[in-house]
């Protein structure tokens, strides 16, 4: 920490000291952690089944939901203050690192090759090898070089060091963290992040959210276990880009379709639904067919021509139910379609209204002389695909690799330094390491053994375990 006393602190030095403080960094990290936790209490806006969050939160979660929405917790991770906290953490990381890495770098650059003998003698590992001469120094340096030490020599004194970079592991880790933060923020760039469900009916072509291409569902297959649990979903998908069929692939759970940075996952499905019926208009008594037509239940027409006759749809209940105040529909999906129709045509002076139950759900005695008889039709299933795109992922992975490299440097490598000086036939060798003193001792023993000067290396009293 900065201990320099300044007569007058300018704004920028105040800011520097603020961000260089570990306490400040810890407070920022704690704030981010608390916010992230609050963000998980209720589902975030992109996961709610409503387009109007302002109405959804109070309605679903009551007053708490309203407060939650008003304070912006419902889109926590994209709110300006959460992003600001992330950026403050980034600044803090950079300044804390600079504050420490620059002095470290400079002090490592300025190391003396030949410190005072007493300095070597006070090293935690210190070996005085008697009966040595200059050739012993040469051999030792040669051996150290073979062991990948960088050796600098000054007469009969030398200094050797290895893995200086491990001292910078923590700062490499910080660089990785900053890359991860930038990768996470990149999701906020328009077009970089998409996560959205789309429904595609069999035979339908639907625009893929956030992209310029379309997906067509050629066939949807679902298989069940005997107990009714789904066993297998599969969408035979075709990607249509610029009017061309570019990819044909089956989308199965855990095997998404990948195209231009987008991934389409099998996520959901709707049960088969009535789409069209081929109908025959017949005269009840004579069983004579008067005409044929096809009725599309997703696009109900007001009238259909059947030969010389017209079938007029007067009312249509896609999901029929008999409510308190008469017939009504539960939804817009044709789960239980019922129609009120009348047949007009030659010889019909006064058309009669009659009910039509396309799926034969009910048999009613009706006055009308005519009936509609289905002779074919089409059921469609609808697949639910999850459209996912995240350009930030490679950046986050890249950052993670850098973090990992930093961690490996911190935990598995040591900065080892060995000094040697020849004084009156005694080779004084001292060693220092950033950690793993036992390993350093073994190293020293091996080095001396290799040059034919076996010694017992022990730690000075002052030395660490």
């Amino acid at each position: 920490m900065t201990t320099v006393v300044r007569r007058r602190r300018t704004l920028t030095t105040w800011l520097w000291d603020f961000f260089a403080s570990i306490k400040v960094a810890i407070v920022i990290i704690a704030l981010i952690a608390i916010s992230a936790v609050i963000g998980t209490i209720l589902p975030q806006e992109n996961f709610i089944p409503s387009l109007n969050p302002g109405a959804y939160y109070p309605q679903t979660y009551g007053t708490f939901g309203e407060i939650y929405y008003t304070l912006g917790f419902s889109h926590m991770y994209t709110s300006w203050w959460f992003v600001s906290l992330m950026l403050l953490l980034g600044i803090s990381l950079i300044i804390c690192s600079l504050e420490r890495v620059v002095p470290l770098y400079k002090s490592l650059q300025r190391q003396q090759i030949k410190p005072a003998l007493s300095v070597i003698q006070r090293k935690e590992i210190y070996v005085p090898a008697a009966g040595a001469d200059e050739t012993a120094v040469d051999k030792l340096i040669e051996e150290l070089t073979r062991r990948k030490y960088k050796v600098r020599r000054e007469g009969t004194s030398f200094m050797a060091e290895r893995m200086r970079i491990s001292r910078f592991g923590a700062y490499i880790l910080h660089i990785g963290l900053i890359i991860i933060i930038l990768g996470a923020l990149s999701r906020l760039i328009p077009g970089w992040y998409v996560s959205k469900n789309i429904w595609v009916e069999e035979g339908q072509t639907v625009s893929v959210t956030g992209s310029e291409f379309f997906v067509r569902n050629d066939d949807f297959i679902v298989e069940f276990y005997d107990d009714g649990r789904p066993k297998h979903f599969e969408t035979k998908a075709v990607i249509i880009d610029g009017g061309q069929e570019t990819v044909k692939q089956s989308i199965i759970v855990n095997s998404p379709l990948k195209y231009k940075g987008f991934m389409l996952f099998q996520a959901n499905y709707l049960p088969p639904m009535l789409r069209t019926l081929d109908l025959e208009l017949t005269e009840k008594d004579s069983k004579q067919t008067l005409g044929k037509f096809t009725m599309d239940f997703s696009n109900m027409q007001t009238e259909y021509k059947a030969g010389e006759y017209t079938v007029r749809a007067l009312d249509y209940f896609p999901d029929f139910v008999f409510g308190n105040d008469g017939p009504t529909t539960r939804s817009t999906d044709p789960n239980n379609p019922v129609l009120l129709i009348q047949v007009e045509g030659p010889g019909i002076e006064k058309p009669l209204k009659q009910w039509f139950f396309p799926l034969n759900q009910m048999v009613l005695e009706q006055e009308s002389k005519y009936e509609l008889v289905p002779f074919g039709g089409r059921m469609v299933e609808t697949t639910g695909l999850r459209v996912q795109k995240d350009n930030g992922i490679p950046i986050v992975y890249g950052g993670s690799v850098v973090v990992l490299a930093g961690l490996v440097l911190v935990f598995y490598f040591q900065h080892k330094r060995i000094w040697g000086q020849l004084h009156d036939g005694v080779l004084h060798v001292g060693a220092h390491t950033s950690k793993n003193w036992f390993g350093m001792r073994k190293d020293m023993e091996k080095i001396f053994q290799s040059v034919g000067m076996p010694v017992e290396v022990s730690l000075n009293k002052r030395g660490k375990k």
Partner: protein, 181 residues
């Protein structure tokens, strides 16, 4: 600790803060463009739409300027919508000659269904069909239905009501808007 000069530190801090401010500003302006399509608020101009009614005629909100307009979003599957319809019809009949129009926006249903419903309930005010739900979802961002927008003679949204309206509520709001220029 003379690790870095004062100037160096000042420059570093300034650059980092400016970069962060830049990132925040950029992100906020990106998000702003997404949020342009939020539900119209009281005091804002009502977004114009043009849809066909149950008689297959084009109708736009624009052409009703100068009248008090109640835009009611509904569906035949929605019980509360059905519940308030007779009251809306009543108020429409009472005030239509004074320059009040009710526009029922049917959400995503077929003409047959909407027309059948209107005939059964004896609704005479215009009902338009938002077949692909774009007006409902993208322009007006409707959540729960029924939702009604009261638009004054200048085309400005003055009241928004979610849920079935009482006759009293309808009448006071219509009278208030009628009494204003």
């Amino acid at each position: 600790m003379a690790s870095q000069s004062k100037v160096g530190r000042a420059v570093t801090v300034t650059i980092l803060l400016l970069a962060s401010a830049g990132i925040i500003f950029a992100l906020l302006s990106f998000n702003q463009s997404d949020e342009n399509v939020s539900q119209p608020q009281v005091g804002q101009a009502a977004p114009n739409f043009s849809l066909t009614n149950t008689d297959e005629k084009k109708m736009s909100l624009q052409e009703l300027r100068g009248k008090v307009v109640v835009v009611n979003f509904w569906g035949t599957w929605c019980d509360p919508c059905r519940e308030e319809m007779p009251r809306i019809q009543l108020m429409y009949e009472k005030y239509k000659d004074n320059g009040v129009v009710v526009v029922g926006v049917n959400i995503g249903e077929s003409r047959v269904t909407a027309k059948g419903f209107a005939d059964r309930l004896g609704l005479t005010f215009p009902i338009v069909l938002d077949h692909d739900r774009s007006v409902t979802l993208n322009q007006y961002k409707i959540g729960p239905i029924p939702t009604s927008f009261f638009i004054d003679k200048q085309g400005v949204v003055r009241y928004i009501y979610t849920g079935p309206m009482s006759s009293g509520y309808l009448e006071t709001k219509i009278q208030t808007l009628l009494s204003q220029p």
